[in-house]
Protein backbone atom coordinates (compact mmCIF):
# COMPACT_ATOMS: atom_id res chain seq x y z
CA UNK A 1 0.00 0.00 0.00
CA UNK A 2 1.27 3.50 -0.79
CA UNK A 3 2.34 5.52 2.20
CA UNK A 4 0.63 8.84 2.63
CA UNK A 5 2.23 11.57 4.68
CA UNK A 6 0.17 14.61 5.55
CA UNK A 7 1.80 17.74 6.94
CA UNK A 8 -0.48 20.13 8.81
CA UNK A 9 0.77 23.71 8.65
CA UNK A 10 2.56 25.26 5.68
CA UNK A 11 5.40 27.36 7.00
CA UNK A 12 9.14 26.89 7.63
CA UNK A 13 8.74 23.44 9.20
CA UNK A 14 6.61 22.12 6.35
CA UNK A 15 8.90 23.58 3.66
CA UNK A 16 11.95 21.81 5.08
CA UNK A 17 10.10 18.62 5.99
CA UNK A 18 8.64 18.13 2.52
CA UNK A 19 12.04 18.76 0.89
CA UNK A 20 13.88 16.52 3.36
CA UNK A 21 11.34 13.71 3.00
CA UNK A 22 12.02 13.53 -0.72
CA UNK A 23 15.78 13.79 -0.13
CA UNK A 24 15.54 10.89 2.31
CA UNK A 25 13.77 8.89 -0.37
CA UNK A 26 10.14 9.06 0.77
CA UNK A 27 8.17 7.93 -2.27
CA UNK A 28 4.62 8.02 -0.96
CA UNK A 29 2.00 10.72 -1.34
CA UNK A 30 2.90 14.00 0.28
CA UNK A 31 0.25 16.57 1.08
CA UNK A 32 0.68 19.87 2.95
CA UNK A 33 -2.43 21.47 4.42
CA UNK A 34 -2.19 25.16 5.27
CA UNK A 35 -4.72 27.88 6.02
CA UNK A 36 -3.05 30.68 4.05
CA UNK A 37 -3.29 31.24 0.28
CA UNK A 38 0.50 31.00 -0.07
CA UNK A 39 3.28 28.49 -0.47
CA UNK A 40 5.59 28.43 2.58
CA UNK A 41 7.30 31.80 2.88
CA UNK A 42 10.03 33.38 5.00
CA UNK A 43 8.30 34.75 8.08
CA UNK A 44 11.15 36.71 9.74
CA UNK A 45 11.30 39.48 7.07
CA UNK A 46 7.63 40.38 7.68
CA UNK A 47 8.62 42.81 10.45
CA UNK A 48 11.82 43.87 8.70
CA UNK A 49 12.73 44.00 4.99
CA UNK A 50 9.24 43.08 3.77
CA UNK A 51 7.52 45.73 5.86
CA UNK A 52 9.91 48.53 4.95
CA UNK A 53 10.69 47.41 1.40
CA UNK A 54 8.88 46.90 -1.85
CA UNK A 55 9.08 43.11 -2.16
CA UNK A 56 5.98 41.19 -3.23
CA UNK A 57 4.74 38.14 -1.34
CA UNK A 58 6.17 35.68 -3.88
CA UNK A 59 9.68 37.03 -3.31
CA UNK A 60 9.52 35.58 0.20
CA UNK A 61 8.60 32.05 -0.89
CA UNK A 62 11.14 29.64 0.59
CA UNK A 63 11.08 27.55 -2.58
CA UNK A 64 9.21 28.23 -5.82
CA UNK A 65 6.10 26.34 -6.96
CA UNK A 66 8.18 24.48 -9.54
CA UNK A 67 10.18 22.82 -6.76
CA UNK A 68 7.09 21.33 -5.14
CA UNK A 69 5.65 20.27 -8.51
CA UNK A 70 8.86 18.53 -9.46
CA UNK A 71 9.00 16.78 -6.09
CA UNK A 72 5.32 15.92 -6.14
CA UNK A 73 4.43 17.81 -3.00
CA UNK A 74 0.75 18.80 -3.04
CA UNK A 75 -0.75 21.75 -1.19
CA UNK A 76 -4.31 22.28 -0.10
CA UNK A 77 -5.72 25.37 1.57
CA UNK A 78 -7.98 24.17 4.35
CA UNK A 79 -8.39 24.00 8.10
CA UNK A 80 -8.06 20.71 9.92
CA UNK A 81 -11.00 20.41 12.28
CA UNK A 82 -10.45 16.95 13.74
CA UNK A 83 -7.84 14.24 14.06
CA UNK A 84 -8.89 10.63 14.66
CA UNK A 85 -5.80 8.65 15.63
CA UNK A 86 -7.54 5.27 15.80
CA UNK A 87 -8.76 5.50 12.22
CA UNK A 88 -5.75 7.59 11.09
CA UNK A 89 -8.01 10.17 9.50
CA UNK A 90 -8.28 13.94 9.42
CA UNK A 91 -11.39 16.01 8.92
CA UNK A 92 -10.72 19.18 6.97
CA UNK A 93 -12.81 22.12 5.86
CA UNK A 94 -11.90 23.88 2.63
CA UNK A 95 -12.37 27.60 2.26
CA UNK A 96 -15.53 27.10 0.25
CA UNK A 97 -16.94 25.24 3.26
CA UNK A 98 -16.54 21.76 1.80
CA UNK A 99 -15.80 19.12 4.41
CA UNK A 100 -13.55 16.23 3.54
CA UNK A 101 -12.00 13.27 5.30
CA UNK A 102 -8.42 12.22 4.54
CA UNK A 103 -6.43 9.12 5.48
CA UNK A 104 -2.81 9.26 6.51
CA UNK A 105 -0.17 6.71 7.30
CA UNK A 106 2.20 9.30 8.77
CA UNK A 107 1.21 12.71 10.07
CA UNK A 108 3.37 15.74 10.87
CA UNK A 109 2.06 18.61 12.97
CA UNK A 110 3.80 21.83 11.90
CA UNK A 111 1.06 24.03 13.26
CA UNK A 112 3.32 26.78 14.59
CA UNK A 113 2.16 29.53 16.88
CA UNK A 114 -0.36 32.35 16.68
CA UNK A 115 -0.20 35.87 18.04
CA UNK A 116 -1.48 36.51 21.51
CA UNK A 117 -4.42 38.88 21.06
CA UNK A 118 -5.27 41.47 23.64
CA UNK A 119 -8.87 41.79 24.78
CA UNK A 120 -9.36 45.29 26.18
CA UNK A 121 -11.87 48.05 25.44
CA UNK A 122 -11.55 49.14 21.82
CA UNK A 123 -9.32 46.22 20.78
CA UNK A 124 -11.70 45.42 17.91
CA UNK A 125 -11.32 48.88 16.32
CA UNK A 126 -9.85 48.94 12.85
CA UNK A 127 -6.26 50.12 12.59
CA UNK A 128 -5.05 47.67 15.25
CA UNK A 129 -2.58 45.28 13.68
CA UNK A 130 -0.80 42.07 14.58
CA UNK A 131 2.24 40.78 12.80
CA UNK A 132 2.62 37.07 12.24
CA UNK A 133 1.53 36.29 8.71
CA UNK A 134 1.59 37.74 5.22
CA UNK A 135 -1.97 39.06 5.39
CA UNK A 136 -1.18 40.90 8.63
CA UNK A 137 2.02 42.38 7.22
CA UNK A 138 0.30 43.46 4.00
CA UNK A 139 -2.54 45.11 5.92
CA UNK A 140 -0.06 46.98 8.10
CA UNK A 141 2.00 48.03 5.10
CA UNK A 142 -1.10 49.44 3.37
CA UNK A 143 -1.96 51.62 6.35
CA UNK A 144 1.45 53.18 6.79
CA UNK A 145 1.44 56.95 6.13
CA UNK A 146 4.66 58.90 6.59
CA UNK A 147 4.33 61.68 9.14
CA UNK A 148 1.44 60.01 11.01
CA UNK A 149 1.53 58.34 14.43
CA UNK A 150 2.15 54.66 15.04
CA UNK A 151 2.01 53.10 18.49
CA UNK A 152 3.67 49.75 19.04
CA UNK A 153 2.37 47.81 22.03
CA UNK A 154 5.11 45.50 23.32
CA UNK A 155 8.85 46.12 23.47
CA UNK A 156 10.02 42.64 22.48
CA UNK A 157 11.90 41.78 19.31
CA UNK A 158 8.87 41.88 17.01
CA UNK A 159 7.70 45.19 18.46
CA UNK A 160 11.13 46.77 18.17
CA UNK A 161 11.79 45.46 14.66
CA UNK A 162 8.42 46.82 13.61
CA UNK A 163 9.19 50.15 15.28
CA UNK A 164 12.47 50.38 13.34
CA UNK A 165 10.72 49.56 10.05
CA UNK A 166 7.94 52.09 10.65
CA UNK A 167 10.53 54.77 11.44
CA UNK A 168 12.26 53.96 8.18
CA UNK A 169 8.91 54.55 6.47
CA UNK A 170 8.73 57.99 8.07
CA UNK A 171 6.12 57.43 10.76
CA UNK A 172 6.29 58.93 14.26
CA UNK A 173 6.68 55.86 16.45
CA UNK A 174 5.95 55.29 20.13
CA UNK A 175 6.67 51.98 21.85
CA UNK A 176 4.73 51.10 25.01
CA UNK A 177 6.15 48.36 27.20
CA UNK A 178 4.53 47.06 30.35
CA UNK A 179 7.78 45.85 31.99
CA UNK A 180 10.31 48.28 33.51
CA UNK A 181 12.54 47.82 30.46
CA UNK A 182 12.27 46.68 26.84
CA UNK A 183 13.39 43.13 25.98
CA UNK A 184 13.14 42.26 29.68
CA UNK A 185 12.07 38.67 29.05
CA UNK A 186 15.00 37.87 26.76
CA UNK A 187 18.07 39.99 27.49
CA UNK A 188 20.19 41.47 30.27
CA UNK A 189 19.60 45.10 31.36
CA UNK A 190 22.82 46.10 29.54
CA UNK A 191 21.36 45.00 26.21
CA UNK A 192 17.96 46.56 26.94
CA UNK A 193 19.65 49.89 27.68
CA UNK A 194 21.58 49.69 24.43
CA UNK A 195 18.45 49.11 22.34
CA UNK A 196 16.61 51.80 24.25
CA UNK A 197 19.38 54.25 23.37
CA UNK A 198 19.54 53.31 19.69
CA UNK A 199 15.77 53.55 19.26
CA UNK A 200 15.79 56.94 20.98
CA UNK A 201 18.61 58.09 18.71
CA UNK A 202 16.50 57.05 15.76
CA UNK A 203 13.56 59.07 16.98
CA UNK A 204 11.42 56.34 18.55
CA UNK A 205 9.77 57.34 21.80
CA UNK A 206 9.88 54.45 24.29
CA UNK A 207 7.74 54.35 27.42
CA UNK A 208 8.31 51.50 29.87
CA UNK A 209 6.28 50.47 32.89
CA UNK A 210 3.17 51.46 30.97
CA UNK A 211 0.08 49.29 30.91
CA UNK A 212 -2.28 49.75 27.97
CA UNK A 213 -5.88 49.88 29.20
CA UNK A 214 -7.76 50.45 25.96
CA UNK A 215 -8.06 52.04 22.56
CA UNK A 216 -10.42 54.81 21.58
CA UNK A 217 -11.59 56.18 18.28
CA UNK A 218 -14.68 56.49 16.14
CA UNK A 219 -14.33 53.62 13.67
CA UNK A 220 -10.61 53.51 13.44
CA UNK A 221 -8.24 53.70 16.39
CA UNK A 222 -7.26 57.28 17.26
CA UNK A 223 -5.76 57.02 20.75
CA UNK A 224 -4.13 54.47 23.00
CA UNK A 225 -5.24 54.90 26.60
CA UNK A 226 -3.01 53.72 29.44
CA UNK A 227 -3.93 52.58 32.95
CA UNK A 228 -2.22 55.64 34.47
CA UNK A 229 -4.47 57.89 32.41
CA UNK A 230 -1.86 58.90 29.84
CA UNK A 231 -2.94 58.88 26.18
CA UNK A 232 -0.99 58.52 22.97
CA UNK A 233 -2.36 59.61 19.57
CA UNK A 234 -2.37 56.73 17.09
CA UNK A 235 -3.25 56.47 13.41
CA UNK A 236 -2.31 52.84 13.64
CA UNK A 237 -1.36 50.40 16.39
CA UNK A 238 0.78 47.29 16.16
CA UNK A 239 0.49 44.77 18.96
CA UNK A 240 3.42 42.44 19.56
CA UNK A 241 2.94 40.73 22.89
CA UNK A 242 4.06 37.21 22.12
CA UNK A 243 2.66 34.06 20.60
CA UNK A 244 0.84 30.94 21.73
CA UNK A 245 1.60 27.47 20.35
CA UNK A 246 -1.13 25.92 18.22
CA UNK A 247 -1.66 22.71 20.15
CA UNK A 248 -5.46 22.43 20.27
CA UNK A 249 -5.75 19.78 17.54
CA UNK A 250 -3.07 17.64 19.19
CA UNK A 251 -4.64 18.07 22.60
CA UNK A 252 -8.13 17.15 21.38
CA UNK A 253 -6.67 14.01 19.83
CA UNK A 254 -5.13 13.01 23.15
CA UNK A 255 -1.50 13.68 22.28
CA UNK A 256 0.78 14.77 25.13
CA UNK A 257 0.90 18.59 25.34
CA UNK A 258 2.88 20.63 27.86
CA UNK A 259 3.65 24.16 26.64
CA UNK A 260 3.83 22.68 23.15
CA UNK A 261 3.31 19.26 21.64
CA UNK A 262 5.65 16.94 23.50
CA UNK A 263 8.10 15.18 21.16
CA UNK A 264 11.11 12.93 21.75
CA UNK A 265 14.56 13.44 20.23
CA UNK A 266 13.27 11.93 16.96
CA UNK A 267 10.46 14.52 16.82
CA UNK A 268 7.92 11.78 17.43
CA UNK A 269 4.87 12.42 19.62
CA UNK A 270 3.42 9.77 21.92
CA UNK A 271 1.70 8.33 18.80
CA UNK A 272 4.32 6.48 16.68
CA UNK A 273 2.68 7.67 13.44
CA UNK A 274 2.54 11.33 14.41
CA UNK A 275 5.48 13.74 14.41
CA UNK A 276 5.72 17.42 15.25
CA UNK A 277 8.09 20.19 14.24
CA UNK A 278 8.63 23.88 14.97
CA UNK A 279 7.22 26.53 17.30
CA UNK A 280 4.39 24.21 18.40
CA UNK A 281 6.74 21.61 19.89
CA UNK A 282 8.28 21.02 23.28
CA UNK A 283 11.46 18.96 23.13
CA UNK A 284 14.36 18.03 25.39
CA UNK A 285 17.37 20.13 24.45
CA UNK A 286 20.71 18.36 24.88
CA UNK A 287 22.68 21.56 25.21
CA UNK A 288 20.62 22.89 28.09
CA UNK A 289 19.51 19.64 29.74
CA UNK A 290 15.87 20.65 29.89
CA UNK A 291 12.72 20.66 27.77
CA UNK A 292 12.24 23.84 25.74
CA UNK A 293 9.76 25.28 23.27
CA UNK A 294 11.73 27.38 20.80
CA UNK A 295 10.23 30.06 18.58
CA UNK A 296 12.86 29.88 15.89
CA UNK A 297 13.29 29.15 12.20
CA UNK A 298 16.61 27.28 12.57
CA UNK A 299 15.02 25.06 15.21
CA UNK A 300 12.10 24.24 12.91
CA UNK A 301 14.55 23.42 10.11
CA UNK A 302 16.64 21.12 12.31
CA UNK A 303 13.57 19.35 13.67
CA UNK A 304 12.14 18.95 10.16
CA UNK A 305 15.26 17.10 9.04
CA UNK A 306 15.01 14.82 12.07
CA UNK A 307 11.31 14.19 11.51
CA UNK A 308 11.91 13.39 7.81
CA UNK A 309 14.46 10.75 8.78
CA UNK A 310 12.11 9.32 11.41
CA UNK A 311 9.21 9.11 8.95
CA UNK A 312 11.52 7.22 6.59
CA UNK A 313 12.36 4.74 9.34
CA UNK A 314 15.83 6.13 10.09
CA UNK A 315 16.81 7.21 13.59
CA UNK A 316 18.65 10.53 13.64
CA UNK A 317 18.56 12.25 17.00
CA UNK A 318 17.78 15.96 16.82
CA UNK A 319 20.69 18.21 17.77
CA UNK A 320 19.29 21.64 17.90
CA UNK A 321 21.49 24.43 19.16
CA UNK A 322 19.17 27.39 19.86
CA UNK A 323 20.01 30.60 18.06
CA UNK A 324 18.08 33.64 16.89
CA UNK A 325 18.60 36.92 15.10
CA UNK A 326 17.00 40.35 14.99
CA UNK A 327 17.59 43.19 12.52
CA UNK A 328 16.87 46.76 13.60
CA UNK A 329 18.26 49.81 11.76
CA UNK A 330 21.92 49.10 11.02
CA UNK A 331 22.09 46.58 13.87
CA UNK A 332 22.34 42.88 13.27
CA UNK A 333 21.83 41.07 16.53
CA UNK A 334 22.73 37.39 16.56
CA UNK A 335 21.83 35.47 19.67
CA UNK A 336 23.57 32.22 20.54
CA UNK A 337 21.94 30.00 23.13
CA UNK A 338 19.39 30.57 25.89
CA UNK A 339 20.25 33.07 28.60
CA UNK A 340 17.57 32.07 31.15
CA UNK A 341 19.12 31.33 34.52
CA UNK A 342 22.34 33.30 33.98
CA UNK A 343 24.15 34.62 37.07
CA UNK A 344 26.69 36.92 35.42
CA UNK A 345 26.94 39.10 32.32
CA UNK A 346 30.18 40.34 30.81
CA UNK A 347 30.22 42.88 28.01
CA UNK A 348 32.85 43.04 25.28
CA UNK A 349 33.05 46.33 23.43
CA UNK A 350 31.48 49.70 24.05
CA UNK A 351 27.72 49.46 24.43
CA UNK A 352 27.32 53.08 25.54
CA UNK A 353 28.49 54.95 22.47
CA UNK A 354 29.20 52.41 19.70
CA UNK A 355 26.88 50.14 17.75
CA UNK A 356 28.96 47.02 18.08
CA UNK A 357 29.41 44.87 21.19
CA UNK A 358 28.66 41.47 22.66
CA UNK A 359 27.04 40.51 25.95
CA UNK A 360 28.03 37.11 27.30
CA UNK A 361 25.79 35.29 29.76
CA UNK A 362 27.44 32.96 32.23
CA UNK A 363 26.06 30.46 34.70
CA UNK A 364 28.37 29.00 37.33
CA UNK A 365 31.33 30.22 35.30
CA UNK A 366 30.19 28.60 32.04
CA UNK A 367 29.08 30.52 28.97
CA UNK A 368 25.40 29.73 28.28
CA UNK A 369 24.39 32.47 25.82
CA UNK A 370 25.61 35.54 23.94
CA UNK A 371 23.92 38.56 22.37
CA UNK A 372 26.23 39.79 19.60
CA UNK A 373 25.48 43.14 17.96
CA UNK A 374 27.23 43.61 14.62
CA UNK A 375 29.81 41.04 15.70
CA UNK A 376 29.24 37.92 13.58
CA UNK A 377 32.60 36.41 14.48
CA UNK A 378 31.85 36.54 18.19
CA UNK A 379 28.45 34.98 17.51
CA UNK A 380 30.00 32.03 15.69
CA UNK A 381 32.62 31.75 18.40
CA UNK A 382 29.95 31.73 21.12
CA UNK A 383 28.04 28.98 19.34
CA UNK A 384 31.21 26.91 19.38
CA UNK A 385 32.12 27.64 23.01
CA UNK A 386 28.61 26.89 24.28
CA UNK A 387 27.87 23.83 22.17
CA UNK A 388 31.26 22.27 22.83
CA UNK A 389 31.17 23.28 26.52
CA UNK A 390 34.59 24.95 26.28
CA UNK A 391 35.82 26.59 29.48
CA UNK A 392 36.70 30.23 29.04
CA UNK A 393 37.70 32.94 31.51
CA UNK A 394 35.06 35.71 31.58
CA UNK A 395 37.85 38.29 31.94
CA UNK A 396 39.32 37.18 28.63
CA UNK A 397 35.88 37.26 26.99
CA UNK A 398 35.42 40.84 28.12
CA UNK A 399 38.84 41.98 26.87
CA UNK A 400 38.13 43.66 23.54
CA UNK A 401 41.83 44.14 22.90
CA UNK A 402 42.21 40.41 22.25
CA UNK A 403 41.05 39.70 18.68
CA UNK A 404 38.01 37.41 18.60
CA UNK A 405 39.84 34.81 16.60
CA UNK A 406 42.48 34.53 19.33
CA UNK A 407 40.01 34.06 22.18
CA UNK A 408 40.03 30.29 21.92
CA UNK A 409 43.81 30.18 21.83
CA UNK A 410 43.92 31.81 25.24
CA UNK A 411 41.82 29.02 26.80
Amino acid sequence: MTQKCIIIGASHGAAQLSASLRQEGFEGELLVIGDEPHLPYQRPPLSKAFLSGDKVAEALYIRPAAFYEKNNVLFRQARVTALNRDLQTLTIRDYDGRVDELNYSKLALCTGARVRKIEIPGSDLSGIHYLRDMAGAEALKRSVVAGRNAVVVGGGYIGLETAASLRKLGMHVTVLEMAPRILQRVTAPEVSEFYHRVHSENGVSIHTGVSVAGFSGKDCVERVVCADGSEFPADLVVVGVGVLPNTELAEAAGLAVDNGIVVDQYCCTNDPNIFAVGDCTNQFNDYYGRRVRLESVPSATAQAKTAAASICGLRKSCTNFPWFWSDQYDLKLQIAGLSQGYDKVVVRGDRHTSRSFSAFYLKEGKLIAADCVNRPQEFMLSKKIISEKINIDPKILADDSIPAKDLLMSV
Binding site: Q16, P44, I62, R63, A66, F67, N71, W325, M380, A404
Partner: protein, 106 residues
Protein backbone atom coordinates in the same frame (compact mmCIF):
# COMPACT_ATOMS: atom_id res chain seq x y z
CA UNK B 1 20.11 31.11 -19.80
CA UNK B 2 23.29 29.53 -18.52
CA UNK B 3 24.03 26.87 -15.95
CA UNK B 4 25.75 26.60 -12.60
CA UNK B 5 27.12 23.34 -11.22
CA UNK B 6 27.04 22.56 -7.51
CA UNK B 7 29.28 19.65 -6.54
CA UNK B 8 28.58 17.89 -3.25
CA UNK B 9 31.41 16.67 -1.05
CA UNK B 10 30.86 13.10 -2.31
CA UNK B 11 31.16 14.23 -5.93
CA UNK B 12 27.44 14.32 -6.77
CA UNK B 13 26.83 17.07 -9.31
CA UNK B 14 23.76 19.28 -9.60
CA UNK B 15 23.56 21.30 -12.80
CA UNK B 16 20.98 24.05 -12.38
CA UNK B 17 19.81 26.94 -14.47
CA UNK B 18 20.81 30.52 -13.67
CA UNK B 19 17.97 32.85 -12.79
CA UNK B 20 19.28 36.33 -13.40
CA UNK B 21 19.38 38.40 -10.21
CA UNK B 22 18.76 35.51 -7.85
CA UNK B 23 21.42 34.61 -5.31
CA UNK B 24 23.34 31.35 -5.50
CA UNK B 25 21.51 30.29 -2.33
CA UNK B 26 18.08 30.96 -3.84
CA UNK B 27 18.98 28.96 -6.92
CA UNK B 28 20.23 26.07 -4.78
CA UNK B 29 17.02 26.13 -2.71
CA UNK B 30 14.80 26.29 -5.80
CA UNK B 31 16.51 23.21 -7.18
CA UNK B 32 16.75 21.25 -3.94
CA UNK B 33 20.54 21.11 -3.84
CA UNK B 34 21.17 19.11 -0.63
CA UNK B 35 23.21 20.77 2.08
CA UNK B 36 21.95 24.30 1.49
CA UNK B 37 19.04 24.96 3.79
CA UNK B 38 19.43 28.68 4.28
CA UNK B 39 18.19 28.85 7.86
CA UNK B 40 18.16 32.65 7.91
CA UNK B 41 16.66 33.12 4.45
CA UNK B 42 19.61 35.05 3.06
CA UNK B 43 20.44 37.53 5.83
CA UNK B 44 24.09 36.49 6.16
CA UNK B 45 23.16 35.53 9.73
CA UNK B 46 23.53 31.76 9.94
CA UNK B 47 26.47 30.65 7.82
CA UNK B 48 24.64 27.54 6.57
CA UNK B 49 25.09 28.22 2.84
CA UNK B 50 28.88 27.97 2.64
CA UNK B 51 30.19 27.20 -0.85
CA UNK B 52 33.70 27.11 -2.27
CA UNK B 53 33.98 28.79 -5.66
CA UNK B 54 36.32 27.18 -8.19
CA UNK B 55 39.41 29.38 -8.41
CA UNK B 56 38.99 30.59 -11.96
CA UNK B 57 35.47 31.88 -11.20
CA UNK B 58 36.33 34.02 -8.20
CA UNK B 59 36.76 37.11 -10.36
CA UNK B 60 33.14 36.89 -11.54
CA UNK B 61 31.60 36.00 -8.16
CA UNK B 62 33.84 38.35 -6.21
CA UNK B 63 35.49 37.53 -2.91
CA UNK B 64 33.84 37.26 0.48
CA UNK B 65 32.93 40.50 2.27
CA UNK B 66 34.24 41.25 5.74
CA UNK B 67 30.93 40.11 7.25
CA UNK B 68 31.12 36.77 5.42
CA UNK B 69 34.74 36.31 6.47
CA UNK B 70 33.74 36.80 10.10
CA UNK B 71 30.95 34.22 9.75
CA UNK B 72 33.27 31.74 8.06
CA UNK B 73 36.30 32.27 10.25
CA UNK B 74 35.86 29.19 12.44
CA UNK B 75 34.88 26.83 9.65
CA UNK B 76 37.50 24.08 9.27
CA UNK B 77 36.62 23.67 5.59
CA UNK B 78 37.09 27.32 4.80
CA UNK B 79 39.08 27.99 1.62
CA UNK B 80 40.46 31.20 0.07
CA UNK B 81 37.49 31.22 -2.34
CA UNK B 82 34.82 30.45 0.28
CA UNK B 83 31.59 32.43 -0.01
CA UNK B 84 28.16 32.42 1.59
CA UNK B 85 25.85 31.54 -1.29
CA UNK B 86 23.22 34.04 -0.12
CA UNK B 87 25.67 36.88 -0.73
CA UNK B 88 26.50 35.94 -4.34
CA UNK B 89 24.15 37.39 -6.92
CA UNK B 90 24.12 35.46 -10.16
CA UNK B 91 23.98 36.73 -13.70
CA UNK B 92 24.11 35.19 -17.15
CA UNK B 93 27.81 35.99 -17.26
CA UNK B 94 28.30 33.19 -14.74
CA UNK B 95 27.33 30.49 -17.24
CA UNK B 96 29.56 27.51 -16.46
CA UNK B 97 30.28 28.51 -12.85
CA UNK B 98 31.28 25.59 -10.62
CA UNK B 99 31.00 25.70 -6.83
CA UNK B 100 31.80 23.00 -4.29
CA UNK B 101 29.83 22.25 -1.14
CA UNK B 102 31.68 21.55 2.10
CA UNK B 103 31.11 18.25 3.89
CA UNK B 104 29.44 20.04 6.79
CA UNK B 105 27.59 23.32 7.11
CA UNK B 106 27.95 25.12 10.42
Amino acid sequence: MGNITFIENDGTQHVVEIEDGKSLMEIAMANGVPGIDADCGGECACGTCHVIVEDKWISSTGSATDEELQMLDLTPERAPTSRLACQVNTSEQMDGLVVHLPEFQM
